[in-house]
């Protein structure tokens, strides 16, 4: 259906070509090059085919070396090679652009202007190297076209031209002189001058805005610290600190809900003191959370189970009313339940969102391509003016390039079959060992907790309450080192895999222990304590675990890094300790899991976790800078953040959510304390509310109907939809990857076509030249005769 284009090319060989002032709109004439030549050669089709086969097989992939001058001239004027070189080409390109602009009837928009520095095939008119005279002509044409534009367009065009400033000023001057003579443009000029001024104001405003944003950006916490860390230790260590920052933001999110809706309200309306404050303050309470802390907003037991600030005129609960109450009754139990529920829901959404975003960043279509090129060309920040910062950048870039190369080299040397089998057997053995250790530790913890439980029921001493957290923390500290020792028997191909395997094992250990502890609390403790405010006890247990965890992290940093470095220095070795990213991240996840487990029973636990994380950042950073060295095997950690967030979401948050759901739906709250003391389950508070709503206004029965069924069916539906969306997106990504592969193949084919055509062109000209030589020779012979 498509017409073959008519290509007529007249190539002068050694002579000046007549200037062809072709308008780019006459496309049928513009792209004339090969048609005539191909017609000439069509009689020798078979010979051609044979010769071309010879050429293409010989010259495939080789750089062209002995093409004749005519071919070279054509090659030199190919669109991909002209731009960027000759000033004339730039001028002619912009001339064409302005002609196109002027020809449009309506006022063209600035954004329609081509912003590509490369002329497209439709605008290029296959010109040869412009002679100075041609260049002058083109230039004068361009000046004329510039005059036809408005001031704003002309300025925009001038600024975007890749010419030197002096030339641009000359162009502008020339176009201005002509312009001055056209007075009827004057009014539009002043109008447009206002528009240019507006543009400047916009530019100035934008600079101001960027300055403001950059000020805010610089206020971002730990900006310089993180840069320092990444420059010295690489991106894997940096990912730990970024994860710490993420956890801080999650805790702040929790506190945003808990503080105003639960804590502040209860502080404003403290319950009548049913519990005497007789105990004196000893330092032990900071560790155990008992004593004076028991009856504060810190724990569940303090919160009221009635509507606060209720006016006396209402029918319900007349004994808690205040005579001077404002018209804002606050239903404490409902608020407690809903706030905890909503904060968890928001955390879930935030987690899933950040997880999907990191996934999107890490596994983008075609994202692995161009990594080296981008690192080389786009990573140097030209804004850096300080020597130290420049040094940091050099280190950063060097580290990144080394990481990339190390990864690539690892892929180049795969193992033999025998080696792989051996590796698998060792791997299996080590895994069995690790799992066995985890199970053993779980049994130990369980039996110890049973033992402590019996002991405590005999005589209550506060210090003994710290024994269980101590044991768990010791296990969490020692067993990872054991796992590291086991892992040294293995030989993994990539250090990334090593880290992931270590993380998995440690995670299994921690989650098993935590699961066991939850079972112990929900089972034994509730049965034993019964109505004696078991929620506060569980909250205090979790507080103790958190404090003990913090102490042990400090001790670990002190002994693991500082003392080791001192010993190494004493022994005059140079193997400073390396920062163990896996272990530290697991500790963070463990701490956050404790927080999430305890939110229902201790609303201020996220605040304590926040303080702990803030301290931890500085302690870890100081220890890192002073004691540790950069990892010996540098490797890229661009997927680490995704893995960390996923681990935070799935075992950690999911486990906490399950625990919370069980506590809300199934467990009977204690009778003597807390906001739910009169109910059978915590969830009943909302059922009571629904019933009250129904009684109050029967028109909202639809809401209650949804509420009845929302337990199972609703969540099931939501999950189905989510899975469907995920599946759809995966398929879209797969399809896009396929398209990219196809396009790449196509580009390769075009490249081969180009080589083929060049060779064919060369052969044609060679034959022409030979024939001409032969003709000249016969002419000479004839003349001689």
């Amino acid at each position: 259906m498509s017409q073959s284009p008519s290509f007529i090319l007249s190539i002068p060989e050694g002579k000046e070509s007549p200037s062809q002032d072709l308008s780019p709109y006459d496309e049928s004439i513009v792209h004339d090059s090969f048609h005539q030549l191909i017609q000439e050669q069509s009689q020798q089709a078979e010979v051609e085919a044979l010769e071309l086969q010879e050429w293409s097989s010989r010259d495939k992939g080789k750089a062209p070396q002995n093409y004749n001058s005519a071919t070279l001239r054509i090659l030199a004027n190919m669109p991909s090679r002209t731009i960027g070189r000759s000033r004339g080409a730039i001028i002619s390109q912009y001339y064409n652009q302005t002609v196109k602009l002027r020809r449009k009837n309506s006022r063209p928009l600035l954004r329609d202007m081509s912003s590509s520095a490369r002329p497209s095939i439709w605008q290029n008119d296959l010109e040869l190297d412009l002679t100075p005279r041609e260049e002058e002509e083109k230039r004068s044409l361009l000046v004329k076209e510039l005059q036809g534009l408005t001031v704003a367009q002309r300025d925009h065009m001038l600024r975007a031209m890749p010419l030197s400033l002096a030339e641009k000023c000359c162009l502008r001057q020339d176009s201005c002189i002509q312009r001055g003579r056209q007075k009827h443009h004057h009014r539009s000029q002043t109008q447009l001058y206002c528009c240019s001024r507006l543009q400047y104001h916009c530019i100035a405003f934008r600079s101001l805005w960027y300055g403001l944003l950059s000020g805010l950006y610089a206020l971002k916490p730990w900006h310089y610290s993180l840069k320092q860390i990444s420059g010295q230790f690489g991106s894997s260590v940096l990912s730990y600190f970024l994860f710490l920052k993420t956890l801080i933001s999650f805790n702040v999110l929790l506190l945003l809900f808990l503080l105003p809706f639960i804590v502040a309200v209860q502080v404003a309306f403290p319950p009548t003191s049913e519990f005497p404050f007789s105990q004196s303050f000893t330092g032990l309470e900071l560790f155990t959370g008992r004593g004076q802390f028991t009856h504060t907003v810190m724990f569940y037991g303090y919160y009221s189970n009635f509507t606060l600030n209720q006016p006396c005129s209402s029918h319900q609960n007349s004994d808690h009313c205040l005579p001077k109450a404002a018209h804002l009754p606050y239903n404490m139990p409902l608020a407690y339940l809903f706030t905890v529920g909503v904060s968890f829901f928001t955390t879930c959404i935030a987690l899933v969102y950040s997880m999907s975003r990191s996934f999107g960043k890490s596994y983008q279509v075609g994202s692995t391509l161009g990594v080296h090129a981008i690192t080389v060309f786009c990573s140097w920040d030209y804004r850096v003016t300080q020597k130290r910062a420049a040094r940091l950048q050099h280190d950063n870039i060097r580290t990144q390039l080394k990481e990339l190369l190390a990864e690539w080299q690892l892929k180049q040397h795969p193992r033999s079959m025998c080696g792989r089998l051996q590796q698998m057997i060792v791997l299996l053995l080590v895994w069995l060992l690790c799992l066995g250790t985890a199970v053993g530790c779980a049994i130990a913890v369980y039996s110890f907790s049973e033992f402590m439980h019996e002991m405590i029921s005999e005589k209550l001493q506060e210090v003994h309450l710290l024994a269980l957290p101590l044991i768990v923390c010791i296990i969490n500290l020692v067993i990872p080192y054991l796992y590291n020792a086991f892992a040294s028997w293995e030989q993994h191909d990539s250090p990334v895999l090593e880290v992931y395997v270590a993380i998995c094992r440690n995670l299994i250990l921690k989650m098993v222990i935590l699961g066991l502890l939850c079972y112990h609390w929900m089972g034994r403790k509730i049965r034993t304590l019964g109505d004696q405010c078991w929620e506060t006890f569980v909250g205090q247990e979790l507080y103790r675990f958190m404090v003990m965890d913090f102490i042990f992290i400090l001790l670990d940093t002190l002994f693991g890094e500082l003392v080791w470095r001192l010993i190494v220095e004493r022994l005059k070795g140079d193997r400073k300790p390396e920062f163990d990213v896996a272990r530290n991240v697991l500790e963070l996840i463990y701490g956050q899991t404790l927080t999430w487990l305890g939110v229902l029973f201790s609303p201020l636990l996220p605040a304590i976790q926040l303080l702990k994380l803030l301290f931890l950042f500085y302690i870890k950073k100081i220890s890192l800078m002073a004691n540790c060295q950069a990892p010996r095997k540098p490797w890229r950690a661009s997927h680490m953040t995704t893995i960390f967030i996923t681990l935070l979401c799935f075992p950690s948050f999911l486990g906490a959510a399950i625990f919370l759901s069980y506590a809300i739906w199934q467990v009977r709250p204690s009778r003597t304390c807390g906001p739910f003391r009169t109910l059978d389950t915590i969830y009943e508070a909302s059922k009571v509310w629904i019933r009250r709503l129904e009684e109050a206004s029967p028109s909202i029965t639809w809401f209650t109907w949804i509420h009845q069924y929302k337990d199972s069916f609703f969540f099931f539906l939501v999950d189905c939809c989510r899975l469907a969306v995920i599946y759809f997106n995966i398929q879209v990504v797969k399809g896009q990857r396929k398209v990219i592969c196809l396009l790449k193949e196509q580009i390769n084919n075009e490249g081969e076509d180009k080589i083929f055509l060049i060779n064919k062109l060369h052969s044609i000209y060679e034959r022409k030249r030979e024939r001409r030589e032969k003709m000249n020779k016969t002419d000479d012979d004839i003349e001689k005769i």
């Binding site: 750089a63 960027g84 912003s115 520095a117 490369r118 300025d155 600024r159 890749p162 030197s164 400033l165 002096a166 502008r172 001057q173 530019i203 934008r206 600079s207 960027y210 300055g211 944003l213 950006y217 610089a218 900006h223 840069k227 990444s230 991106s235 940096l238 960043k361 983008q364 075609g366 161009g370 080296h372 090129a373 080389v376 060309f377 786009c378 990573s379 140097w380 920040d381 030209y382 804004r383 850096v384 003016t385 300080q386 020597k387 130290r388 910062a389 420049a390 940091l392 050099h394 870039i397 060097r398 990144q400 390039l401 990339l404 950690a637 661009s638 580009i747 390769n748 490249g751 180009k754």
Partner: protein, 215 residues
């Protein structure tokens, strides 16, 4: 905002304003920076368009360029005769192109020229080797440098001629914003500056977003 400056004629200032991305004030500020570099060479009166060229060493002593590994190439690209000695026009041009307001393609064009050490309109493997060596201050071994260059050519060379043309370079730059977002955690600290220089958060979304110099 004085109209009382005596450095340029009003027409000159207008011309500079229209042809660069700067306002009057910024152009004057740049002139005074230029003047400060060599007070005895640069006159205060540019109305007569004196032909004053500052030598390359003076330009590269500027704090903005002093620690830049590509300062030599930048001076060469923006100078008229390619030897690094710049007139005021070249100086203004350089800062205009490197400012934040310059469009992406203009920056791509000049970035390409800067990385093209032998001025043959292609970034060939030799150019790449020089670039990588300058970026890493010679701390990579020659084999590593060679490997990196090979991989860069493999990745960015679309038309398979063994070197990068402006087209290839621009195509690759188009992938940069995705890459910058992708490797934000690893690249962010290469892209970000320290707290003493200003930081533009939007630049993460521009492709040659690191190709800025602020006056």
């Amino acid at each position: 905002m004085g109209n009382k400056q005596t450095v340029f004629t009003p027409e000159q200032l207008d011309a500079y304003q229209d042809c660069t991305f700067f306002t009057r004030k910024e152009i004057l500020k740049l002139f005074y920076r230029f003047q400060d570099l060599a007070p005895q060479l640069v006159p205060f009166d540019y109305t007569g368009k004196p032909d004053v060229k500052l030598p390359y060493e003076v330009i590269c002593g500027m704090p903005e360029l002093k620690d830049n590994p590509f300062r030599e190439r930048i001076a060469q690209v923006f100078s008229q005769d390619g030897d690094g000695n710049m007139t005021l026009d070249d100086f203004l041009d350089m800062f205009s192109v490197m400012s934040e307001m310059a469009p992406r393609d203009l920056k791509a064009y000049y970035a390409f020229k800067i990385y093209d050490f032998n001025n043959d309109d292609y970034i060939c493997p030799l150019d790449l080797e020089k670039t990588v060596t300058k970026l890493t201050r010679g701390e990579l071994t020659p084999e590593e440098v060679g490997l990196v260059c090979e991989k860069v050519i493999n990745e960015a060379d679309v038309d398979n001629d063994g070197k990068l043309s402006l087209d290839d370079f621009q195509n690759m730059i188009l992938h940069a914003p995705d890459f910058l977002r992708l490797c934000a955690s690893t690249m962010k600290n290469a892209v970000d500056t320290d707290k003493n220089s200003t930081v533009c958060p939007q630049r993460i979304l521009q492709s040659i977003s690191t190709f800025h110099i602020r006056i």
